[in-house]
């Protein structure tokens, strides 16, 4: 069928109207411009899609559980939509909190790695075979529609993003629209790493934060494997070595923990945190004399340190233990 010829004038008028509408509503929409650094596709291949990523269609208001189930099962976790719903759905809010998405990922023994803002963070993860969960505001600030979806593909040539979203197994969104909706959540995006996997674009602070969260919530085995992977990438990093030593201690691997703390102290004898935990490890090994010696070294250096109180606590613990079992 032949199309009507649209006169150039009508075309111009239409474009002007569009521009006007855009101008008028730009302020209403609260749209800032999107920085070029964020909209860059990055070094990953121009077109990629993880076609094998499972899809869970959402129930009403339950995009959070559906998106997280997709992410976890793609990471090899055996779970169901019902199980995940019981962990992240908040009935009275008709939705899911970002914190609970992270917490439920920890419950599944996975590292919830929050990505640096930017499209290239997503494409890098996709290139490594991991889909990415994003929070979008499909509406505007004054009429928000918060929505979780999973990015499974990007196409730099067609300027498209492929998502598992809501009840759409393969939803295609223009990149510009996606970026605007994603921007409203502060570009919030998270991927799940198996303990031992490193992110495609490893950022030390983000990685340490993610693994420390796993450690703090008692997932020691997973945290240990994750710290080990971190150590292979940042072999001299104090926080990561400290984290590994702490999880070894928590798992009852006292000899391994002792060695790690001693290694750190041989390079920096003023590390009071390591010295404190070394003393705790020695108590656990029944060597309270050695523990006392270590804590005394630490206390001699601790004047004015915010750790002073904790060191004194440790000293108290050692003294009460050694009184109980004199050797």
């Amino acid at each position: 069928m032949k199309r009507f010829d649209v006169s150039p004038l009508t075309g111009l008028a239409k474009r002007a109207a569009q521009a006007l509408a855009l101008f008028v509503f730009w302020t209403l929409a609260g749209c800032g411009t999107i920085p070029a650094a964020v909209s860059h596709y990055g070094p990953a291949p121009g077109r990629l899609e993880l076609v094998d990523t499972p899809f869970y269609s959402q129930e009403q208001f339950q995009c959070g559980p559906a998106a997280l189930t997709t992410l976890l099962t793609a990471s090899g976790v055996e779970t169901t939509l019902d199980e995940v719903t019981a962990q992240v759905y908040l009935p009275a809010r008709q939705g899911s909190l970002q914190t609970e998405i992270l917490a439920a990922t920890r419950a599944a023994e996975r590292v919830p790695y929050v990505l640096a803002p930017g499209l290239s963070s997503i494409t890098s993860e996709l290139a490594a075979g991991r889909p990415v969960l994003v929070l979008q505001n499909l509406g505007v600030s004054w009429a928000p529609r918060w929505h979780y979806a999973v990015v499974v593909g990007t196409d730099a040539d067609r300027k498209q993003i492929v998502l598992r979203s809501g009840t759409d197994a393969r939803r295609i969104t223009r990149t510009s629209v996606f970026l605007r909706t994603w921007q409203r959540s502060g570009f919030w995006a998270v991927t799940t790493l198996k303990p031992g996997e490193l992110p495609a674009d490893p950022d030390r602070a983000r990685y340490a934060e993610a693994v420390a969260g796993l450690e703090q919530t008692g997932h020691y085995q997973a945290a240990r494997d994750a710290w080990l992977a971190g150590l292979s990438h940042w072999p001299n990093d104090t926080v990561i070595r400290f984290g590994l030593a702490n999880t070894e201690y928590a798992l009852g691997h006292f000899t391994a923990a002792e060695r790690l703390y001693l290694d750190m102290l041989s390079e920096d004898s003023g590390l009071l945190t390591a010295r404190n935990n070394l003393a705790m490890t020695l108590i656990a090994m029944g060597q309270s004399d050695d523990a006392l010696e270590q804590i005394d070294i630490a206390l001699a250096l601790a004047e004015g340190s915010p750790l002073l109180e904790e060191l004194l606590d440790t000293q108290k613990t050692i003294l009460s233990t050694s009184q109980g079992a004199p050797n």
């Binding site: 569009q18 509408a21 855009l22 209403l28 929409a29 009403q60 208001f61 339950q62 995009c63 959070g64 962990q87 908040l90 009935p91 009275a92 809010r93 008709q94 939705g95 899911s96 909190l97 970002q98 914190t99 609970e100 992270l102 917490a103 439920a104 920890r106 419950a107 929070l135 499909l138 509406g139 505007v140 009429a143 529609r145 918060w146 929505h147 809501g166 969104t173 629209v177 605007r180 909706t181 959540s185 602070a205 340490a208 934060e209 693994v211 420390a212 450690e215 703090q216 919530t217 926080v239 984290g243 702490n246 201690y249 404190n276 935990n277 705790m280 915010p306 606590d313 440790t314 613990t317």
Partner: protein
């Protein structure tokens, strides 16, 4: 009336016992956690054990109020970090809850249609 007073008393008693339990645990263990080191690195205020316990209790209570099965609450708060608990404390209603809920009325609806047409929003196509 009487039963309400009794309930209040029991709630307080249980709260108090939970609190003291936490303090006893806190003074016993003097390991310094990795999170604490990261916080001091970032110059964030370190969170005391008592603060964390109070926040955990508050968030657990709020989750129940917001309709979470009480049996699921412990594992839900148990997987949150101290910093996350402190952020949520007393403000569960203020954080973003992603779930597609949206209230649209009258003029707002028309504005939204125009925003959609010019590609600023993506509100109508999903689900």
């Amino acid at each position: 009336m009487r039963s309400k007073m009794l309930r209040n008393f029991v709630v307080r008693l249980v709260s108090l016992s939970l609190l003291s339990l936490g303090i006893v645990q806190g003074s016993g263990a003097a390991m310094i956690g990795t999170q604490q080191v990261i916080q001091s690195e970032a110059r964030d205020a370190s969170i005391s054990r008592v603060e964390a316990i109070l926040a955990r209790r508050d968030v657990a209570k709020q989750l129940v109020i917001f309709g979470v099965d009480p049996l699921a609450v412990q594992s839900r708060v148990g997987n949150m970090t101290d910093a996350e608990l402190l952020t949520l404390e007393g403000s569960l209603d203020k954080h973003v809850a992603g779930g597609d809920a949206v209230a649209i009325v009258g003029a707002v609806f028309i504005v939204l249609i125009i925003l959609e047409l010019v590609g600023i929003t993506d509100i109508f196509k999903a689900t």
